[in-house]
Amino acid sequence: MDKKRFQRFYEENFDKVYRFVLFRVKGDREKAEDLVSEIFMKALEHFDNYDESRGKSAWLMMIARNHVISSWRDERITTVSLTIEDKEGGEVEEDFYLINKAKEALKTGEVEYQIRELIANLSEEDADIVTFHYLFGYSYKEIAEMQNMTEGAVKVAAHRAIKKLREHL
């Protein structure tokens, strides 16, 4: 196993993954640090499976996504992506959601909160493109690899999404 390769991998991806996790846990730095540590530990354990030719960031992003989702599941925190079936869970979950929203608004400030809201209103694909490129720092090429799109298509989608967001602001 090439340690230098892993170190390079860490340097290239740390900032992006951290931003992604921090964004997903809504600015809770403590929690984000825990999750990022766990994500990189997982990556280290399965580094044999990492194939750079299949995309530099896609593999780690998949681990990060799954890990964040599993952490939500563990803490039984419902998020914006509640389905109709989930809502059967009851009012308690809805309350949690509202409380979190309020907390987040206080924490992140008005503009940031607005942006989050606007991004949440976008389609999942557009939201991903905007957040990954403008907030987490991924290049169009990396996003294209993750989304199975061409680089040009990602650029067009990003431009359109930004235009849409500006209109709603």
């Binding site: 230098k4 990189f40 503009v111 403008y134």
Partner: protein, 314 residues
Amino acid sequence: MIKFRYNLWKMKRGLRPDDRFKESLRQELDRAWKTRYGSVPWFQMVWFRYAAVPAMVLFLVVFAGTSAYAYTSPEVVEGNLLYPIKTVVEKVEETLSVTPAMKTKYYIRQLDRRYQEAAVVEKKVEKQPAQKTVEAQAKIMVKINQVEKKLVEQKQTIPSNTKNEMRLKAKIQAALKESEVKKRLITVPTTTLKLPNSDLIRKKLEQIKREEVKKEETKRFEVKAGTTTIKTRPVVTSTIPVIKRYRVPTYQVPSTTVKSPITFTTSTLIKTTPTTTVSVPSTTLSVPLPLVKPTTTIYYQPKVITTTTFYRTY
């Protein structure tokens, strides 16, 4: 649009990770890596991978160059740092010489090399103690004898059926004869010979002169083997390098009560050739001193090492 992008950039800046956390996580991952995969051995390190090839090439070039120099140069004699390399290369050469012809060629070459080394050692006598030269020459003589023995064995194993075999045998015979003559030419310096008795020195030098004159007679010889006649090159020329240097040191002893032996540092050279009479200047020997134990080194032939001690009291 610009304002919105600016807000996004501001938000991105707000999501920036803490450098201390990044560093601590890096260290934690390092530890985890060591636990999981073990520390990387030095030969798997990246720097080694990049350095190994040039280093190997450099080593091979230097090693090949040194070996070639050690093998070809007669200056590399016993006691030289490169001598072991020379020995190894010669052993390899011996192993690779498979056929009788190759072996014969190799041993004859070995003999030549040893005599070249003997000449170098002889020249070095000016720079090093006589004892060292004697030892070095003795070692070379042993090696010469070994090679001669091998040549004799080689000669015995070769049958006398074909012309080539006969020629080979004759070559061996010639080489052995040549070696015999050359061996006589090797001057073996005595160990320190203590004087100062001019008569004794004169006698000694005259004896040397007689031997050298005898040697002059052997100039050329022929070896006949079968139908082939091989003429060897003249190994003894009319100008045998027998201008010998005899060191007669003088020394002023500062103390009045001096115990012998005392070694002398300054010297006067007395030369002798086969044709000139050896003369030891009396001035050199009548040393003005309270006590003298002068030393001299005398070279003579054949290889007889004699140590004579003379004490002079006053």
